[in-house]
Each structure stands twice: as C-alpha cells, then as structure tokens.
Amino acid sequence: MDIRSQISMVFHLDKCIGCHTCSIACKNVWTDRKGAEYMWWNNVETKPGTGFPTKWEDQEAYRGGWEVADGKLRLKSSGKGNYLKRIFYQPNMPTLEEYYEPWTYDYENLFNAPEGDDQPTARPVSKITGEYMEVESGPNWDDDLGGSPLYARNDPNLKALTEEQQLQLLSIEQLVMFYLPRICNHCLNPSCVASCPSGALYKRGEDGIVLVNQEVCRGWRFCVSACPYKKVFYNWNTGKSEKCILCYPRVETGQAPACFHSCVGRIRYMGVILYDADKIADAGLRPDSELVEAHREMILDPHDPAVIEAAHRAGISDAVVKSAQQSPVYKFVKEWGLALAPHPEYRTFPMLFYVPALAPVTATQTDGLLANDVENLFGAIDDARTPMAYLASLFSAGQEGPVRYAMKKQMAVRLWRRALTVGDIEVDVARRALREANCSPEEAEEIYKMTSLPTFEDRFVIPPSHREQAIEVLKNPLENKGLAGIGFREAPERGL
C-alpha cells in the first residue's frame, strides 16, 4: 500500500445558480495578465452545451486522456515512441479559435471622436494584435443555452442519447439545462503530467496539487492536447503552459481557494482524502462499467486503524489524518455515494466530484409539485427532462446505475425533509423512500445538513500543509533572513 493524501473537491450542482462569481474571482486573482486573458482556470458551462474550449469533451478530435490498448494504459494523444513526431506541430491541439480572441473596446473614441452625424461607438479591439476586430465568440458564449441550435445541439454527450431523446431535450418547451462549473481536477493519474516531455508538470506529493514548473516548461504543448478536460492553457505571450494552481498559496495558509471562497451558492466543498496510489495502475485498466467503483475503491477509510497506521508510516501527519476524517469530500463520495467524477472514461481519476443536479429532473412533472406517488416514489427521476443517459455520459462513463443511485438518495432526502417540515408526505412513506435509496434517517439528516446548512468550516476542511517545514528543506531560513520572500521572481516577458 502506497498511501497518499490528496486535496479533493465536491461541487454540488443542485446548488449552482450559474452566477460566474467563481470565474471572476479566479480571473481577478490569477489570469488578468497579457497572454492569459483568454484563460479561464475556472469557468461555468451550461449543459447541454459545447463548453470551453468548444467541444472539449470530443476526444475523437482532441485525443485527451488515456486509453487501454493491448492491456496497457497509454496516452490517447501520443505514446513515447512517436512523441518527437508531434513536437514540431501538435495535430490535436485547440487553438485560439476554439477558445476566443480576447478583446477590449476602443473607449477613447467615445471621448475623442470628431463631431459628426452619428454617435461615436467603442469598437472592439483585439488584445493580441491591437487592431479592430469582429467579436465572433467569447467567454460563456452559449451561457443559459444562448444560441442553442448551434451549441447545445453539438454537445458531445448527446451521442449517448437516442434521436427521440435528443429531440425531446431540445424541443422548445422541454428545454432543460444545468450548470457545470469546472476547474482543474488535480487528477490522481494526470495525463498532462505524463505527456510533458520536459517533466515540467508535476503532482505535489503532500497534497496532490498539479502544477507547471514555469522554469522547466519549454512550450512543447503536449499537456494542452493531453488534458481531456482542457484545463492546461498555453500562454501565448510567455510561451509557457499554465493551469489552475488550486490557489495553493491560499490553501497552504488554511484559506479556501478564491473560487471556493467566493461561491455564492455555497456549492463547493474541499477536503483531504487518503488514497492508495498502488491501485492507480490496475484501476486504470478496468472496463468502463467498473470505473466509478474502481475510483472509489482507491479512496481509503480514514477511520480504519490500519489505514491510520499506514498513513503514519508514509509520513502523513496526524493533523492531515484528522482532517481526512472530517472531510466533506469523503462523505459525499465514499460514505453517501452522492458525488461522481466527470467523464471517468478518460481514466485520469479526477479528484473533483459533482453531485448531479436534481432540480431540472423533477421539473418534468406537469402537476407542478414533486411527485409523491406512494407507489412510485422515484418515477420523476426516470421521467425526467434530462435523460439519465445524458447524466451518465457526463458522470459515469455511460453507466446509469451510479447516477440513479445519487439521484434517488437526493430525492429521498428531500421527501424525508418534506415529511418532517411541510408534512404533506407521510413520514412512513418518506422512510420507505429512504430505505429504497439505501439511506438511513441519520444519514439523511447529515446529507441535509451538509447540503443546506453547512458552515464555512464544514465546507472547507483544509489540512495544515506545514510549508514552513518544507521551506527549511529547500532553503536555510537563516541565510535568507531579511529577504523579501523565497522563490523565483522574473518579469513574465517573452524570451528571445
């Protein structure tokens, strides 16, 4: 057993209101720079939709993630044998067109335009060339199903649906959508790291955060192609790749990352989990139908004395084990089985999990209220506007079982709380619903509390990272006394 700790995340999609506050918080802190204007380390997509960059889920085009070939796990984009062939030109890399050309407006014209018959306008100006441009796409171009015939219809997940289901999903009075906020998943088996020939990308041993060493990156761009979630971005100005750093300077000081901290809907949870790194290789080879299970099997029970003992031997501190025991992520993913990783079939084992959205599912009921049909408590889930196959394509490699389990449990908790607080459902009926959803009343209360009433400390259980000790390994603090910080500081100018 090779036990490691990993900072992990849960996004509760039922609570996401699509306000983009997370994106703006991140943008203002990290990517408001030349060369990074187009990057959204955090973005919020409308589903169904093509996302950012356009159709990122279409791995036939982008060749991201891993695939099993001849009983071995290998990068879908390139193997070691042929990587030099792709170094001069990346055939599957998204370019600016798949994101958008960043722009500002010629505001000065509003003040300086000569007197004339027409109102002066502020024309868009490219942030790259500085010239006037026509805006053809931008961040969240298909927000809230805007331009749906163009965007929603091209969602790669729709391939999982029948023709009839597709038509139903997109017909005018049946339209349904939900939001999918995305950041780097800080995967257990990151394909970006494995693809980087320079070895610039790495996973931090202590907390599993995936970073790009800017001094080692040489701009070969393999990572941009290899990340199936398209969360490594190429800075066109510096000639280096960049990605979400999970606000590690904040996490190291016990603060939640900017996108987590600012989340208005309080959908985001962060906690540490303990996992067995020896299981990654085998889990990656499992068939699609077993991937959700294989992913969960890697996560270890932090209350198990044997695990605690192994963690100690692996040098994981008591404080980290303690915070793993309180981790909301462990509860959502492992104890309750409510949260699922996006596209497990990419086999990177994302450590960002989503609780699938229940709201648009129940909204199919024409009667208005929730269906409290005593005989068929969960009918609403399968009659849903969002076909189960769609959610399964997104969260469980096409297997409807895990998604249905999560939906049923959420629905049962709702029925239970409704029985307790509104009273128009018999408590016995609610109990039966819980039983059918494999949930005890105690667990239902816990889920209810963690979903509806969690405090800041409940949502973000951030372990101490002891960076003060880490710095002593790298630099002698006494020698560096009086200096303003430790690390490399250089203007992000383009090299020669």
């Binding site: 500085g130 041993g205 040489r218």
Partner: protein
C-alpha cells in the same frame, strides 16, 4: 595579405568566438534565466501555415544536418560512396530534397511571422534576425548543391578536415580557403547561426526532451522525500 587576415578572422577567429560565446552564454542563460528557455511556439495563434512551415523546416533541416554530422564522423565512407557517379547523384539529390523542404519550410515560417498579424504580435527582433540567418544558410547550401555536383565530396575532403582541425584546437583554414565564395559563405553563416543560439529562441534545440523516453509516466515531487516517483 588583407585577404589572409580576412580568412583567418572568418575561419579561425569567428568559429572559436561563436562556439565560445554560444557555450558560455548558453550556460549562463540556462542558469540565470531558465524561464526564458522555451520553443516560444505560436501554434496557438496560427495553426495552418505552421503545419507546413514547422514540419517541413524541422524535418528537412534535420535530414540535412544529420547528413552533415554523418559526413563529419565518416568522411572516408562518403568519399568511397561518391566514387560511383550514380551513388553521388543519389546522395546529392536526396540531400537537395531535404534542403528544398527546409527552404520551403523556412519561407512559410517567414511569411507567417512577417505577415500574420497575430504572429507579428509575438515576434521579437531576434526572431527576424534568426529566420534571415537560417534562410541565408539554407540558400547558400542549396547554391553549393546546385552549382557544384561534387559538393558532398568537397565537404568530406576539404570541409571535414578543416572542421576537425577546429575541434582539435589545431585550426588549418588552408583546407578551405581556396573554395569558391558560395561554400565559404555557407560556413560563415553557419558560424553565425551557432553564435545566435544563446541569443535567440534557438536555445530550444539544446533542451529537446529526449529524457522523456526513459521517464516514468507520472512525476510526483515531495518536500520531505526526494526524487520522482511514479
């Protein structure tokens, strides 16, 4: 006399200066500003012309440069090979094809870099100088290949002994001073390209990541434990 001084400067002074500066500044730059070592790819901004430009340039040049290295290592074999006119023709023409591919590639790259507005936005003066130098280098090489049908034998019998004498620190420019100006210009511009390495994006070829072939897929860095683990 003046000619002799020029020859000494171009074929003894320049190569040593270029090599010394390339090594010293290259190391200095790598140690003090590793951030500046990058291929500075602009594929993100322009994809279609780059496909032809970059692929043809790199593969064509790799082919020709590889041939030069082979000649440097085994000049006698090259002369033996060339003893037969048909074989000479085969060698010269395959080399020429490589050079023409590289010429097409570098031309495409130059058009792209000078006229595509997005690429112009990320072009530095050194990029322009480097591309011009490379164009001169490829053109003078093609000139030699076209005008002198035994160019490869010249290379093996005159240029290689001269280059070897340089590498052994016993420079003997007399091997090549009597060559026509075309091949000589090719050598001088070659030295200028070497000189340009540490001052341009050319540094990226010094850090071509061949170590990747032996590396484990995953890189994990620990504060306490050292070394990479898979």
């Amino acid at each position: 006399m003046a000619n002799g001084f020029l020859n000494t400067f171009l074929f003894v002074g320049l190569p040593y200066m270029a090599l010394a500066i390339a090594i010293a500044v290259g190391i200095l730059r790598f140690r003090s500003r590793p951030f500046s070592y990058s291929s500075l790819s602009s594929q993100f901004l322009e994809n279609e012309q780059l496909f032809w430009g970059s692929n043809l340039f790199h593969w064509g040049l790799g082919w020709v440069l590889g041939g030069h290295l082979v000649g440097l290592l085994i000049p006698r074999t090259v002369l033996w090979w060339n003893a037969n006119p048909l074989r000479l023709f085969v060698l010269e023409s395959t080399a020429l094809i490589g050079a023409l591919l590289a010429l097409f590639g570098v031309s495409a790259l130059m058009v792209r870099r000078f006229y595509n507005k997005r690429v112009v936005a990320v072009t530095t003066p050194m990029d322009r100088i480097l591309l011009t130098l490379l164009l001169i280098q490829i053109l003078t090489g093609i000139d030699t290949a076209l005008r002198y049908r035994w160019g490869s034998s010249w290379y093996a019998s005159a240029a290689v002994p001269y280059l070897r004498s340089l590498l052994l620190f016993a420079p003997r420019p007399e091997f090549i001073v009597s060559l026509p100006w075309g091949p000589k210009l090719h050598m001088v511009s070659g030295f200028l390209v070497i000189l340009a390495i540490p001052f341009t994006r050319l540094v990226h070829f010094l850090v071509v990541p061949i170590w990747y072939l032996w590396r484990k897929p995953q890189v994990v860095i620990w504060n306490r434990r050292t070394g990479a683990r898979s």
